[in-house]
């Protein structure tokens, strides 16, 4: 459900609890709680919902999906 947007982690503040950081959404930076994705590193993409990162983006999977669609129809219809 609900509005959740992908963004890039640009800062991680491990000194606070819960874990916080800054995520950039196309240039806009917002404070985001990273407690739910403790393995996150700077440069990772995350999905953010109500100020919380709820998952990491699997960039390989993302590319796979797009490639799959690219190749569609090119092989001709069966």
């Amino acid at each position: 459900m609900c509005l959740a947007i992908p963004g890039k982690v640009v800062e991680v503040d491990a000194a606070v609890s819960p874990l916080m950081g800054k995520v950039s959404f196309g240039g806009i930076k917002k404070n985001v709680c990273l407690e739910l994705v403790p393995e996150v590193k700077i440069g990772n993409y995350v999905i953010v919902h109500v100020g919380f990162a709820i998952s990491m983006m699997d960039e390989e999977e993302a590319q796979e999906t797009l490639k799959l669609i690219e190749q569609m129809n090119e092989l001709g219809n069966e």
């Binding site: 459900m1 609900c2 959404f25 240039g27 806009i28 930076k29 919902h49």
Partner: protein
């Protein structure tokens, strides 16, 4: 519709059914459906006269053979200082722009301050300096004013009303009702900059990359456009309620259909990101330095070229046209090739989570 009378006498019957809203809501000032309803049903119906009827940004008056445009606007924005401007610049440019949207050359402004007790003198000075600079930039003069102070807590720092008059040159006939089938709709630049700049400062919604308000006087741009070609039918600046609400108002006023193309509407990268995060649709977000022009197809390229040669119009683009289908309705061709209705703003745009 049910109508409950407040008083036995019919003449006191409230035109907005009491059962609808007992009190004014913020949405009544939002520029969308409720604002519209309030103005039409309560105000316009009472002050009935043909000068008021068009309900355009300004009234067109003929005084001793000269056509004048006359407008008024109040500024209640919070925060009063924001990236790209302040309530003072807004107060000047907003009224200058309303006059320009009538095709007039803005000349003189009045200014009334309602100041809350306790406002720091420095803040007031800042606002005044901004207004002075804005009047210079727009080439207008502030010629009369008024100042009131209200008790602490009874006014939000400062409210400003500006009224303005300008002269409409001969041969210029600009009004929402003049929109014609086939007109091209030109947008002067990127949308939603102002509204998002405001949101970026307001409590609780802080962004770190500076998005600036586009607040600017449009009279220079309009003069350039008119000089290029007079066949401009409608001019409107999409302030509260955004491009969507303004297009709907024009469609309704002129009883024409409007189609626009999503892909052609310019939105800056940062503003798009902010709108995504907040769940706002840029089409409904306020602008303070942009205009929409409805131009005859023959004149469109000329006017567009003229706009692009002006600093405030360098991103001008044709975003759609007037059609004789679906009168009163605005339809948009979506990015993926579908289509949908672009309705007028309903209530306030509240930041979404879901």
């Amino acid at each position: 519709m049910n109508e409950k009378t407040i008083d036995l006498s019919n003449s006191f019957a409230c035109p907005l059914p009491i059962t609808e809203y007992k009190n004014i809501l913020l949405a009544h000032g939002g520029g969308g459906k409720l604002s519209h309803q309030l103005i039409k049903k309560m105000f316009a119906s009472q002050f009935k006269n043909e000068l008021l009827e068009p309900l355009h940004d300004g009234a067109t008056l003929t005084v001793s053979g000269t056509r004048l445009a006359f407008t008024t606007d109040s500024y209640v924005i919070n925060p009063i200082f924001f990236p790209g401007g302040d309530i003072g610049t807004l107060a000047v440019n907003g009224t200058v722009n309303d006059l320009s949207m009538c095709g007039a050359r803005p000349l003189y402004l009045s200014c009334a301050f309602i100041i809350e007790e306790g406002l720091p003198m420095d803040d007031l000075w800042r606002v005044v300096l901004s207004m002075e600079a804005a009047t210079k930039a727009a080439g207008v003069q502030l010629v009369t004013g008024d100042t009131k102070v209200v008790d602490r807590g009874k006014g939000d720092k400062i409210f400003i009303n500006t009224s303005g008059i300008g002269i409409i040159p001969d041969g210029v006939e600009i009004s929402p009702r003049h929109a014609k089938i086939g007109d091209r709709i030109i947008l002067s630049g990127t949308i939603a900059d102002h509204g998002i700049a405001i949101m970026s400062v307001r409590e609780g919604l802080e962004f770190e990359t500076q998005i600036e308000s586009d607040c600017a006087p449009l009279n220079g741009l309009v003069e350039t456009m008119i000089a290029a070609n007079r066949d401009i039918h409608v001019l409107r600046d999409p302030t509260r309620g955004g491009v969507a609400s303004v297009l709907n108002e024009i469609a309704e006023s002129a009883a024409i259909g409007v189609t626009i193309v999503e892909d052609l509407i310019p939105v800056s990268e940062e503003v798009r990101g902010a709108c995504e995060i907040l769940g706002f649709d840029p089409l409904y977000v306020a602008n303070e330095g942009k205009l929409l022009a409805f131009v005859s197809p023959a004149a469109a390229e000329n006017v567009l070229a003229a706009m692009r040669s002006h600093p405030l119009g360098k991103n001008a683009v044709i975003i759609g046209e007037v059609v004789d289908d679906h009168p009163g309705t605005v339809i948009m061709k979506t990015r993926i090739g579908g289509s949908r209705v672009v309705d007028m703003l309903s209530g306030e745009q509240l930041p979404r989570i879901c």
